[in-house]
């Protein structure tokens, strides 16, 4: 039972508490580059999730075989393999999607989430928690991309998942589909989350002070 709970914690870790985008601030390059629309965000997120999960599983299985001295090289080779797999698969599935994501699919290999999670987690954990954690991280990354991509698509095109929200006379905010828009929206979410966190902290402190006063 306890392993089940700890495995669930591993999964939830990346999804919320340690969210790669909003908490760890990892993988900012694709975050800013491909989040022009919700669909792009989800595809990029899922591609990264696949690479992350598969490579963490393989790294975790091989963790006793890989000597410490060559671990970075080994991790990168494994990650690059799965990036290539995703690259070919997306090309085979849809060329439009491949054009939209462009060079960023290949750049998943340079996304610091992958090497970061391989080094910090998968290389030290047995396959089951490693895979679950990676999967959670990937989904958390996808969620973060979607949060940014959704807002950018709404303002930049007046649509969400390609469905027009405001009718035909909507004036698109060009800045939102240009790179600065990515920064603005990311900053907006970060301000929101840090505001929530600060509020929570204040409440906890106020409660503690109240308890202290009673005692």
């Amino acid at each position: 039972m306890s392993t089940l709970i700890s495995n669930f914690d591993e999964f939830m870790d990346g999804l919320w508490k340690q969210n790669p985008i909003f908490v760890m601030m990892l993988g900012m390059c694709p975050t800013l580059a491909v989040t022009v629309s919700a669909v792009n965000s989800i595809s990029m997120g899922l591609a990264t999730t696949f690479v992350l999960t598969a490579s963490c599983l393989l790294i975790s299985i091989l963790r006793h075989i890989i000597p410490k001295e060559v671990r970075i090289a080994s991790f990168i080779v494994i990650i690059a393999t799965f990036v290539t797999v995703v690259d070919y698969s997306i090309q085979a599935i849809s060329l439009e999607l491949y054009d939209a994501l462009g060079a960023y699919i290949k750049l998943i290999v340079a996304n610091c989430i992958l090497l970061g999670r391989a080094e910090a987690h998968a290389a030290r954990m047995p396959p089951v928690p490693a895979t679950l954690n990676a999967f959670g991280m990937g989904l958390g990354f996808t969620l973060g991309l979607l949060a940014i991509g959704g807002v950018r698509e709404i303002f930049g095109a007046g649509k969400l998942f390609g469905i027009a929200l405001f009718g035909p006379h909507f004036q698109p905010w060009v800045v939102m589909v240009l790179p600065p828009g990515g920064f603005f929206v990311l900053a907006g979410w970060l301000i929101l989350f840090s505001g929530i966190r600060a509020n929570k902290q204040r409440k906890i402190e106020a409660e503690l002070a109240l308890k202290g006063a009673k005692a």
Partner: protein
């Protein structure tokens, strides 16, 4: 019970505060507003009011959120609002004006901690945001002195929020002004190599935002502020002087292609930027040498962006870039403390 205050010298008290300075800047901006309303009528008036009201509202919300209380009394939000409105086309849709005001105060000022902490001029941040969000709207103008300007709004002014601006063509036709191009002097120079004479500018015969058509008035208002020492006269002098100098050098090199220094000074937002935006106290250096470097940087960058950049007007980005450079300029131009040895 009164307390005795112990203080070191000097004991001279100047009856001057941030509020006084800011209030006088607002006073100096009012003639420009009136001029703009006289030129463009109702549309310009409501745009100035809407943008300023947005700035005040955003300032109010953020200052009370951050526990500073009401900071509207320092007039800085009013200045930002008026300046921002003066840089926009008078027929700019009101809802976009509100977006600009919000971006100016929230992005340009509040998130840095309010007045005095902002590294960039908030009005220009607002303008930069809407320029990149709505690039085609911000480049379309109505003619000045349209006969119906006090009777009705330009159609684009009243566009529904989030919608594409209503077309002004019919309204402009109704104004009966012939040969209206809708392009600003700088755009016509860049794309058609057509230059206006100084007379065109001074008589208001050009299409532009209010800040571009009232050079003399801006200089007069600036002179008032400079004489009363509410503004550092060296900054506008450095900006305009360096811009004129560089423009003059380019004209010597190729008179057929590059316009005269006078055209450069009178066109675009250079005058308004030099007098009212580059002089923003929070975002310009304070060291004597630094002030000259900062001003000259703005002037030179403006000309470079206008002549060689993709944009028609460069004042906005020139000031924003120089704002970013001003801490660095200050660091390198620290005056030697009296009696201290210079570092060799």
């Amino acid at each position: 019970m009164s307390q005795i205050e112990l203080r070191t010298a000097p004991h001279v008290h100047a009856p001057r505060s941030v509020e006084t300075i800011m209030f006088n800047v607002v006073l100096a901006l009012l003639p420009l507003c009136f001029f703009s309303v006289w030129q463009y009528g109702l549309s310009s008036a409501v745009l100035i009011l809407a943008v300023t009201a947005t700035c005040l509202g955003v300032e109010r919300v953020f200052s009370s959120q951050s526990g500073k209380g009401n900071t509207l009394g320092d007039w800085s939000a009013t200045i930002t609002g008026i300046l921002l409105a003066l840089t926009l086309p008078p027929n700019f849709p009101l809802w976009m004006g509100v977006v600009a005001g919000f971006a100016a105060m929230a992005l340009g000022k509040a998130i840095f901690g309010g007045l005095g902490y902002n590294p960039f001029n908030p009005a220009l941040v607002g303008r930069a945001f809407v320029q990149s969000a709505f690039p085609s709207t911000i480049a379309s103008f109505i003619p000045a002195f349209a006969p119906q300007r006090f009777a009705e709004f330009s159609p684009s002014t009243l566009t529904m929020p989030l919608m594409i601006p209503t077309d002004n063509t019919a309204w402009i036709k109704a104004a009966g002004i012939d040969a209206f191009t809708g392009a600003t002097p700088l755009a016509r120079w860049k794309f058609e190599n057509f230059t206006y004479t100084a007379h065109d500018f001074l008589s208001g015969a050009v299409t532009a935002s209010a800040g571009e058509t009232s050079a003399i008035l801006i200089l007069l208002c600036g002179a008032y502020l400079a004489v009363r020492r509410f503004m550092d006269w060296r900054i506008p002098v450095a900006v305009l002087g360096s811009a004129a100098l560089v423009a003059w050098a380019f004209q010597l090199y190729n008179p057929a292609h590059f316009p005269s220094p006078l055209f450069v000074l009178l066109s675009g937002g250079l005058m308004l930027g030099a007098v009212f935006m580059a002089t923003d106290m929070a975002t310009s250096p304070v060291t004597p040498l630094g002030i000259w470097i900062y001003g000259a940087l703005i002037g030179v960058l403006t000309i470079m962006i206008r002549y060689f950049g993709g944009l028609t007007e460069g004042v906005m980005y020139a000031i924003l870039i120089s704002n970013a450079a001003s801490p660095l300029i200050e660091k390198f131009t620290q005056p030697r403390t009296y009696g201290a040895r210079s570092k060799l």
